[in-house]
Symmetry: C2
Subunit: 202 residues, 2 copies
């Protein structure tokens, strides 16, 4: 595009590398920043540069934490129930559960799911440290909150096999119709699970 000078092109290309941002959105963001105060670009650039250098993984649950802290805020919070561990695929999943404000236990972030096709086995995930946490004792229940997908289910099944011999209760998040969803548009599998998991009204 003859009309785009190199610095503008470079930024648009860098935006396009992000997931969910296509060429049109990348151009729109770039031209927005050209018009916005320099402050806006600068703050974004600084936050980007600080991201990796100022964050680390919690040594207990492997969620994201500040660099220099060995434990994340949740693992170092004595108010959180350490006998209850919610196992998630990614830090973003823990964030989603935190937003419900209904979970008072702790987390364990696997950083992925088992995927034979992509060559991801148990050793590539934070599974051994989870088993170690349970072996150290004091854990009553493990809630498997991997995604309700083929790989999430397979990972949950594998974890259940590993965890049950350790004498801990293993649960999985309920399946059914999403709240606010429309029965007419629910897929067959979701409807099957909703039927199978039907509950007494109270």
């Amino acid at each position: 595009m003859a009309v785009l000078p190199e610095p503008v092109q470079n930024l648009a290309v860098a935006f396009e590398r992000l997931p969910g941002i296509g060429p049109k959105t990348a151009a729109r963001l770039t031209f927005y920043l050209l018009r916005a105060p320099e402050e806006v670009s600068r703050q974004l650039a600084e936050a980007l540069l600080a991201l990796k250098s100022q964050t680390a993984l919690c040594e207990n649950c492997f969620n994201i934490t500040r660099a220099g802290q060995s434990l994340c805020e949740i693992c170092s919070d004595p108010e959180r129930d350490e006998s209850l561990i919610c196992v998630v695929e990614e830090p973003l999943d823990a964030l989603a559960i935190e937003r419900t404000a209904a979970f008072k236990g702790r987390y364990h972030v696997l950083h992925g799911v088992l995927s034979p096709i992509e060559g991801i086995g148990p050793e590539d995930l934070k599974i051994r440290p989870l088993l170690d946490r349970v072996r150290r004792g004091g854990v009553r229940e493990i809630i498997l909150a991997t995604n309700p997908s083929l790989e999430g289910d397979a990972t949950a099944l594998y974890l259940r096999q590993q965890l049950l011999p350790l004498g801990v209760r293993v649960t999985r998040l309920a399946r059914g119709l999403p709240v606010g969803g429309d029965l007419e548009y629910a897929d067959q599998n979701t409807l099957l699970r909703a039927l199978a998991g039907r509950q007494e009204m109270d």
Copy 2:
């Protein structure tokens, strides 16, 4: 959110400041970058920092150009027809027209539209330099390509009044049904314009 350390929070907030990026997209982008190679964040940060310092406005058409160049690539290209000027609101509009590869003239970027409500008058736009370009002679036609909106139309009308006395032909982009659009979903005004502007089939 107790679960989000400050550097992660900062980046999510910086992303949220961009247009069209809500809290969920901002979180998704941030967590994507946490997992991606540091290279990806760094290149985006560097492109952001270079954006303002390495760009300037073309002294002739006010499109974006490299800092240090007084004329943009289009204005310094002898192959482009300088007797034909396409007037657009923003640099992104010129880019959209360039993509058609059908326009071989030059541009003039207004950097906005007249908007009495927002207090934007003719002096706030690059209107005077456009009139100067025409007064210097050699301009045959001005294509007014402001947006087909209330303000874009008002700006085009104002420009027409200023330009006609200078003895130049003034045209406006055609209105009608968008290609690939659906007549059933066209709004009343578009349909009215499409009817009024109907053409012989050939």
